[in-house]
Amino acid sequence: MNYNLNSIAEQEKKSSSWAGLKNLLNLVAEERKRIFLSLSAILVSASLNLLGPFLIGYTIDHYVQTGKYHGVLVFAGILLGMYSIAFVSSYLQTQWMGGVAQRAIFKLRNVIFNKIQQLPVAFFNENKAGDLISRVNNDTDKLSQFFSQALMQFISSIITMIGSGVFLLSINIKLGLATLVPALVILIFTRSVSPWVRKRNALSLKSSGGLSAEIQESLNNFKVIIAFNRRDYFRKKFDVANQHNYKTAMGTGMANNMFLPVFGLFSALAQLIVLSYGIYLITESEFSIGLLVSYLAYSTNFYNPLRQLAALWTSFQVALAGWERISRMLSLESNLDIVKGSVAKASDSLLEFRNVHFGYTTSNEILHNVNFKLEKGKTYALVGPTGGGKTTTASIMARLYDPVSGSILLDGKDIKSYTSEERSKKIGFILQEPFLFTGTVRENILYGNEQYHEYDQESFLAVIKATGLEGLLSVFDDGAETKILSSGDSLSLGQKQLIAFMRAVLRKPDLLILDEATANIDTITEKLLGEILYKLPQETTLVIIAHRLNTIENADEIFFVNSGEVTRAGSFQEAMDKLIHHKRKS
């Protein structure tokens, strides 16, 4: 499965604006009541605003021209009342929609984040973190702007336009038709350029995603950049990305701003038509002056919202482009699906590899036809030169990846039939470079531990003591309450490995995989770790990847991993011989 979001983009065919709008509206489907309220508020304010000009025209014809001042005052009062009601309802509508938009975006961000959490490791290999952050933050913000500011104005503008159109046509059909001709031209123009504008916006969002990826990378790795004095190099790289972003943003800005002047031109044209044609009609005495005044007001009422629509249309196109980027991510399915219906066969082996082939890319196979069984309660060591496939084998054991062909049985059942919760309960995996969260040591150790996760300081320490782990806490300044800042930059790699070790041991998994998990820990502490492992329940199966022989010496069985093949070494001595004499291939 292809997980590269930016390359998926190019394969996709563009959907129309309307289909896009429908998708966007689905986002807020749960807020129907509020939206309905807002809609009615809009209807009220729009229709009241629409009635205004008509009443003014009526007043002019019936009272002003005849000089009845009293009638003028009465109608002025009615207008005042109408306008205040319109004001109140439009205020309420803004309030409601603002809330709707914020909640919708809050929900959307949650959905996206959960999605990211579900996706397999391969997804993260193919996408840059910065670009993902930009999708979660920047793109959803574009949507939020659309919902809170644009959507209802959009609707209100359309209602006002339709209403004005109806009045225009009903007052005088000939004049009305003439007035609406420019609008038709605008409609055709908008339809034809919209897809292009949206494409430009998508490009611009993509390049700002690229920009944030650039920033993220150099922020994460600043110590290398400083120690190698490569600030200039990264400054240049950033300049290039920024320049690119600037260019696409400029192009997008040009495209976005094109609507406004064009709409403006045509609405001016329309007024010209009203005036000249209207006066002509008056001279032909088909039309009254009062009506012409109303008419002018209606045509303004028709074309002003149209001009607003130009601005809103842009915001709509931006939102659509953002939505496309987001929905592309949401439509990705994890390729590690859960297969139902695998029946457990009684088996003494905890984990079994059957004819497993694997490669990170299709062209480059890393593991070739791997077969082995791990029995319950035994300790296994994977040895072999760097790049031989040890970590890859371990990652497949923990189902970070699925094999290209062949199958893996966990407790006699296909590993694919376990949910990720069941699987991670059974398998503990300590990585070469453990990942820590900002928080305390205790929080990091208890993370994801169903049994102990609500433990406070005291009960936690009791558990630690019972497991024999308390000696390990002493390397942290404040013990279990030591603060961990910015994902563990304040700790040494050895300390991180200790936390990961405690985290995994406390979960009491059936299978514990240690991938060079103690490589950066001093040998004395390591002995302590060995003793703790020894104290694990009898049925725990251990898989240890290490270079240090003393960690391997106690293994029941040794597998030799080289050039993508896993072979069983009969004895410790045989493993040694293989290591020494085999030609390295990496």
């Binding site: 003028v72 990378e217 190698f228 050895g494 300390q495 950066n520 270079h547 010496e553 990496s586």
Partner: protein
């Protein structure tokens, strides 16, 4: 308002009906910009808040480049009573030691002893809170940072790779010559691996470098440090992820290809550094003992303890 006043004027004949119509249209024109002003004041408020956040960052003082000296480090390094604190807590206490040009020094000690901090200190990533650190008699501040870092290579403990081609990851810029690039790759034992890749050096590394093994990443980090032809090389637990066979070859390669290099290596394995000119035993931020392997075996019980704990490992040289 307009209707009332205007109506009044028109009835009284002070204003023509045409004027009134025009007036009405102008009013309609006026309303739209007023709406925009309301909208703009909102945008302006947001922009002001954003600008505040940005300028807060821009107004942080730049690190000032004070150094004038062009560094041509020989590798004579001296630390005198250097202390480093993180907040309240001392990380390194009264560190005193010196390194001769071209010599090899190993730093060993348990987890969280301050070994990595010591290397950060030597590379100028952190500054001593008190005490003096000199290279050839001059403090790091006195050197131009550009020339200082051209003579100092640092291999970090964690692998940090950028989402670029392997070539770019190693050279980082166009200033590294092909010759020194090749030498660095050979020294790091990466040549065979590079040749096995479809695009060789131009293969790109994904952001987190996940498609490479731990040892390969480490060796790329080493090649990066060697490609600048450093006079001083700092290794932070470099050998932890590389198997012993490769490690031995790499260390031999370094000796052969970079004969005058001053090497300071943080490590866990005594066996690999037994013959170094100086071994420093660091524990809880303090230097417990320093000297050759032989001296330490005679004088430091802690050292002997570590040595013994590794003995079983040392017996089997891979």
């Amino acid at each position: 308002m307009i209707l009332v006043l205007g109506g009044h004027y028109v009835i009284n004949g002070k204003m023509s009906l045409g004027d009134f119509a025009a007036f009405n249209s102008y009013l309609a024109l006026l309303i739209f910009p007023i709406l925009i002003i309301g909208f703009m004041s909102n945008v302006i408020a947001q922009a002001t808040a954003s600008y505040g956040r940005i300028s807060e960052m821009l107004e942080r003082p730049d690190t000032i480049e004070t150094g004038q000296l062009a560094a041509n480090l020989t590798g004579a390094i001296e630390m005198k009573d250097v202390n480093v604190n993180y907040g309240e807590k001392p990380v390194l206490k009264h560190i005193d030691f010196s390194v001769r040009p071209g010599s090899r020094t190993a730093v060993i000690g348990p987890t969280a002893a301050g070994k990595t901090q010591l290397l950060y200190l030597l590379s100028g990533l952190i500054k001593p809170d008190s005490g003096v650190l000199t290279f050839d008699g001059h403090q790091i501040d006195e050197y131009k940072s550009e020339s200082f870092y051209q003579k100092l290579g640092f291999v970090f403990q964690d692998s940090i790779l950028f989402n670029m081609s392997i070539r770019e990851n190693i050279t980082f810029s166009e200033t590294v010559t092909d010759e020194s690039l090749q030498r660095a790759i050979e020294t790091a034992e990466l040549k065979d691996f590079m040749e096995s890749l479809p695009d060789g050096l131009d293969t790109s590394v994904s952001e987190r470098g996940l498609s490479l093994s731990g040892g390969q990443k480490q060796r790329i980090m080493l090649a990066r440090a060697l490609a600048i032809n450093p006079n001083v090389l700092l290794l932070d637990d470099f050998t932890a992820r590389v198997d012993n066979q490769t490690e031995t070859r790499i260390l031999e390669n370094i000796q052969r290809n970079y004969p005058n290099l001053t090497l300071i290596s943080v490590t866990q394995k005594i066996a690999a550094v037994e013959h170094y000119e100086q071994i420093i035993l660091l524990m809880q931020g303090e230097i417990l003992a320093a000297g050759t392997h032989k001296e330490l075996m005679n004088t430091s019980p802690e050292y002997v303890q570590i040595f013994n704990s590794q003995k079983s490992t040392s017996n089997y040289e891979l």
